[in-house]
Every structure is written in C-alpha cells, then in structure tokens.
C-alpha cells in the first residue's frame, strides 16, 4: 500500500492506461503544458506528447464530440472538463451522441468514452462554479456514472472506465483532490457497478457517495461514540446503474435508511434510493427513510450562506438520531 492523494491516484491511472494502450488519449482545457487545473495530468504531456495529451480550445461541446467520435472508432479518450458546471455545454454531445449511439445503432457501434469532471461545492466559488450535476447524468439512459470517494477508487474507477466499452462519466470533487488515502501498489480495478459497505453497522444504513461518504463516516463515528448507535455506511459509488439489490440488502439488515447527497433534493440520488427502498423492501422498514441534502438554492458566495446551503456531518448525525428517536 502506498499513501497518495486523490489527484495522484488519477494521474497514476492515466499513466498506466496510456502506457499500456496507444489508443488511450487525454484531452481537455489546460491539461497538457499546464498539467491540469487539479494536477491530475501533470507530466503526461512531456511523456506522451501533444497528440495524446491534448490542450483543447474552450469548446466543451465540440471537444467532447471529438472524443466521442474517436471512441466510436475504437480509441479510448479521457476527456477532462475543467469544472462540472461547464459540462452543461457538453450535454448535447454527451447525451445525444455518446449515450445513445450504441443503442440507436442496434448495438453495432460502441462508444468507450470517458469524461472526468470535478463537481461539488468548494470554497466560495459562487453559483456558477459549484454545480453538482449527478442528478442530471444519472438520469441519462446509456451512460454509466461513478463517483470516487477515496484515492483508491479515483484510481480504480478510472482504470475500469478506460477499459469499459460503454461511455462513463466520473464525477470527482473539487475539494477532494488533496485528500490522502491508501492505494494498493499493484494494479487493480474498482467495479463500475455495485455499492460498497465502508462501515458495517446494525441500527441504520447511511447511503452516501463521493464527498458525502466522509460526512457519513464522521457522523457514524459520533453516533457510535456518543449514543452507541451503529450505523452502516454504504458508498453508492456507481450512481448509474444504481445497485438496487445492494441498496435493499443493507436495509433488510438494518431496517432504517438515511441518504446523504450534496445535490439539491428535488430529483436526485436521495429520491431515487428511497424509491428503490419502497419498491424493493418497504415492509422491512421500521421507519420512514430520510434524506439529507443541499438546500434548493443557487450556491451563494457568502461563506456562511454557502456553508448553510450544503449538508455536513452534523446534519447527518442529527437526522440519524431523529430516525432512531434518540
């Protein structure tokens, strides 16, 4: 095991995949000579050259489409969008082409395309740099959507995404690139499907993904220490397809559910997970499931207001207490 930062894990996955397969290439704004806004492609330009580490003009929709077209001919592009907010401009190529071409060609054309996007609310970046778009991507048929919560998964999910024959969106997090964690030294792949129990427990399940896994783990620690409540924390990790069976299996054991999402509540991970619980294991529930989520506002600049608009470990802790009546 080696300890590394989230950005270093992403860089390592790029490097290994590019060294292995000459058809893997990376493109995005400032990823080459400048090394990437979050350093995730540092050094690759010098190593692989400008044909494979491409600094693009600021044309999100069309360089995404160029990646999609190259993927349709068997290349394996890794397209970085500088911030998820800018992915709105690439939605046409992502949703109308990448996500649909395999299906609408009756399975005759594959699109092994990877898009990496930092999402989430960072530090006072304002409404146009704080989007969380998971609800949008996970609603698109034909895409796969994954969200690494640790350096280990940032590495393993990118490795799997590059090898996958379907288009994959990887939602990273603006505030997590310097997060440290253990990453095995030998090559491995994190599944693009299925959720993972990151903390076993018996009293309730907290479903989370990406940064909210850290809020959930912090809350679970406090619940155990202060109240003797043992919360199970499940990292959903793959938001599309969502692991219906895995979600239901945990709640069949714990009988209570809490979903934590960084996105606003109307439409999204929370509503989807709770719908799955209703459909799969309603009669196993001892309490109504609860979601903890961002407030339904454009993210404000003011630091206090920004903090108040997104959830945190304290809110998760309080919500778990309410569910258990303690």
């Amino acid at each position: 095991m080696a300890e590394m930062m989230y950005w270093q894990a992403i860089l390592r996955a790029h490097d290994e995949e590019m060294a292995r397969d000459p058809l893997v290439f990376a493109m995005g704004e400032d990823i080459g000579v400048a090394g990437g806004t979050y350093k995730a492609t540092t050094g690759l330009f010098a190593k692989y050259g400008e044909q494979r580490v491409i600094d693009t003009p600021i044309s999100e929709n069309s360089y995404t489409g160029i990646g999609v077209g190259a993927a349709m001919l068997g290349c394996r592009p890794i397209v970085e969008i500088m911030s998820v907010n800018f992915a709105w401009l690439a939605m046409d190529q992502l949703m109308n082409n990448a996500a649909k071409v395999h299906y609408m060609s009756g399975g005759r054309i594959r699109c092994p395309f990877v898009m990496r996007v930092p999402g989430g609310t960072a530090h006072q970046l304002g409404a146009q740099h704080s989007a969380r778009m998971e609800k949008v991507f996970m609603g698109i048929s034909g895409l796969r959507v994954v969200t690494p919560s640790t350096p280990r998964d940032a590495y393993g999910l990118l490795k799997s995404a590059v090898r996958c024959d379907d288009p994959v969106v990887i939602i990273e997090h603006e505030s997590m690139y310097n997060l440290k964690g253990e990453v095995p030294e030998s090559e491995f792949f994190t599944p693009l499907e299925g959720c993972e129990t990151v903390r076993p427990g018996t009293d309730l399940t907290i479903f989370a993904y990406n940064i909210s896994v850290h809020w959930a783990l912090e809350a679970a620690g406090r619940l155990s220490r202060e109240l003797g409540i043992e919360a199970e924390v499940v990292d959903l990790r793959a938001l599309k397809p969502l692991d219906r069976a895995g979600i239901a299996a945990s709640v069949r054991r714990t009988h209570r559910a809490l979903v934590v999402e960084e996105d606003e509540a109307p439409v999204g991970v929370g509503s989807e997970v709770i719908a799955i619980l209703n459909e799969e294991c309603f009669f196993d529930l001892d309490a109504a499931p609860v979601r903890v989520h961002a407030r339904d506002v454009p993210i404000p600049y003011n630091r206090q207001l920004e903090k108040a608009s997104i959830p945190n470990a304290g809110e998760v802790f309080a919500a778990a207490r309410r569910i258990l009546g303690k």
Binding site: P22, L23, F25, Q51, R52, I54, T56, P57, S59, N61, S62, Y63, T64, G65, I66, G67, V68, G69, A70, A71, M72, L73, G74, C75, D92, Q93, N96, N97, V101, H102, Y103, M104, S105, G106, G107, R108, I109, R110, S141, G142, R144, G156, K159, S160, R163, C164, D165, D166, F188, F189, T190, P191, L192
Partner: protein, 328 residues
C-alpha cells in the same frame, strides 16, 4: 469515366430517387413512422462526392437525411428499408429509424438528428484515423443550416488547429426547414465562412454530377494527401418538402419549377443521351428494373422481416458482455 460507369451513376441516382419516393408511399401507408426526410433533388451531392472517395474505407457521417449517403457508402438497401420499417433485420435492428441508419461494416457511421451534432464526431473519426495512422479520411455531409451551430465553428477551429483529415461537405439547399438562408445567415456563401479557420474551401454546382465529381476529386485528394481538412459547398435544392410533414408553403412555385429544370437526373440523362451512351428505351428499362427491384426485393424484404422482440427492449443500452476487468 467510361460509358458503363456513367450508366451506373445514372442508375444510382435514379435508384436513389425511386427509393425515396417509395419511402414516401410507405409513409403514407403508415408502414414507416416518425420523421422522414427525403433526398430527391440532391442526389448528385452524396453520389458524386462518394464516387470520388473510397466508400467502405473512408468514414462517412451525416444528418437525418441519410438514406442515400448510407446506400452509396455500401449499405444494403434492404437493410435500410427494413430499418425504416422498424424491423429486426434493419441496419440498426429497428432501434434507429430513418434518421439513425448505421453500418460500421462499410464505415457508414450514422445519421444523426441534432443539427450540427455530427461536426465534432467527424473530426473525432479523423482524430482516430490520425492516431492509428491509416490513409482513410472522414467525410461529414451536413446542410447549410447546420453552419449556424456552435459545433460548426468549434469543430472547424479544432480540425484546422490539429490538421485532421476530414472533408466537410455542405449541401446548401438554401433552406433550413422553412427558413430561407438569407433570413438566417449573414454570409450566404457557406464556403466563405471557414476562411478565418484557414481551411481550404470551394463552392460548386451540386446539380451536375460531373461538376460535383470534379470538385470532390480535388477535395478528397487534398484531405487524403495533405492530411488536412477541406470544406466543399454544393449548391443544391430539395424538390420535396423538408420532411413528410412539410407543406412547402414558404417557397414560390416559380422557384421550385426553376430548380426542377435543374434536376440532377435529367441533367445527367440528357448528357448521356446526347453522347449516344443511353437511348430513351434504356432509361425506361433502367427505371422499370429499379422499381421492380425496390418493390420485389427491398420492400418485400422489409415487409416480411420480423419485428424486434419486446423481450430485447433493454438490450444495447450497454454493451452485452463488455469487459469487466474488476472480475478477473
């Protein structure tokens, strides 16, 4: 080009015309659903350009008016018609429809519904060709209206910046649905619009297939040999409505009649007749043979083919049995 090839070309254009007319009938019979955009009037464009490219070797992409581009690229017309009928034997197994014909075996990379959507895809094919090192080129056929999308400008810039081997063919039929070009676009000569991107470009008559072929040959050679983009504008006209639901009220009868006199099939037929390559009876026989083939082989195949199974509805959302490296 010898007489045999000239007659073959005429036959291809006439086949294209009759194929499309038969589609219109099938649409009226409700055998074909959805949107249906037909090609009559523009036959010399796709057929002339691709005659000078290497169908099956070069990668071709276009918009929703895609039947003839697909067939000239090498798609079996039976698979095209079966697709329009929504059948499992269709080129896209009935999942695509008229606007989404695909046949990777002949490198026809698809018809797409979003105006301007194919520009970057074509540049992406060229990027893949460049990485793999072949002598193929990518050819992107779109209309004049598509050039007002951001993807046009974004893609021209990147195609030129990265020297991608892609030929953009603009079939300028003077309208985007019911909006005349001068009501939507300041610079009506489309080939002038790529000048700031330093892409070599030219404009020519799109109704005379000999003219199209001679310009296309230069364009294709440029892209193939120089490994650079090229933009070719073909001046053309559609003789039918934009789609089956178009009344055509926005065009004067006079204008349509004028263009009908420049029908690409009539022009070429007259030339072959004048050169004694083709007699009146030859043309009639050609036409009858084509209509018989369409009726007895192509439409029949489509009619008799099975529907996709409802059990397979969710197939092809993801690749069946795609790699799962985490399982090893």
């Amino acid at each position: 080009m010898d007489a045999t090839d000239q007659k073959r070309l005429l036959r291809e254009m006439l086949f294209a015309r009759r194929f499309e007319e038969r589609c219109a009938e099938a649409y009226q019979e409700r055998q074909i659903g959805g949107f249906l955009h037909l090609y009559p009037g523009q036959e010399a464009c796709a057929i002339g350009v691709l005659e000078k490219a290497r169908p099956g070797h070069d990668y071709v992409i276009t918009g929703y008016r895609d039947h003839i581009h697909a067939i000239k690229s090498g798609m079996d017309p039976k698979a095209a018609m079966a697709e329009l009928y929504g059948k499992e034997t269709g080129c896209s197994r009935g999942r695509g429809g008229s606007m989404h014909l695909f046949d990777p075996t002949c490198r026809f990379m698809g018809g797409y519904a979003l105006v301007g959507g194919p520009f970057p895809l074509a540049a992406g094919f060229a990027k893949a060709i460049q990485m793999k090192g072949g002598d193929e080129i990518a050819i992107c056929f779109l209309g004049d209206g598509a050039n007002n999308q951001g993807t046009f400008h974004e893609t021209m810039n990147m195609a030129s910046l990265w020297q991608l081997p892609v030929l953009f063919v603009c079939e300028n039929n003077l309208y985007g649905i019911g909006t005349a070009i001068e009501r939507a676009t300041v610079e009506t000569s489309q080939y002038l619009r790529v000048a700031p991107y330093k892409i070599p470009a030219s404009q020519c008559d799109g109704q005379d297939i000999d003219v199209v072929m001679s310009e296309a040959e230069k364009a294709v050679t440029h892209v193939r040999e120089k490994r650079q983009p090229y933009f070719l504008e073909l001046m053309t006209y559609r003789l039918r409505g934009h789609s089956m639901s178009d009344s055509g009220a926005y065009r004067s009868r006079d204008e349509v009649e004028q263009w009908a006199r420049r029908d690409p099939i009539s022009i070429y037929r007259a030339r072959l007749e004048a050169a004694n390559i083709l007699a009146e009876e030859d043309f009639q026989k050609m036409d009858t043979d084509i209509q018989n083939e369409i009726e007895n082989e192509i439409v029949r195949f489509a009619m008799e083919s099975p529907e996709p199974r409802v059990e397979d509805l969710e197939r092809y959302v993801y690749v069946d049995g795609g790699p799962k490296p985490w399982l090893k």
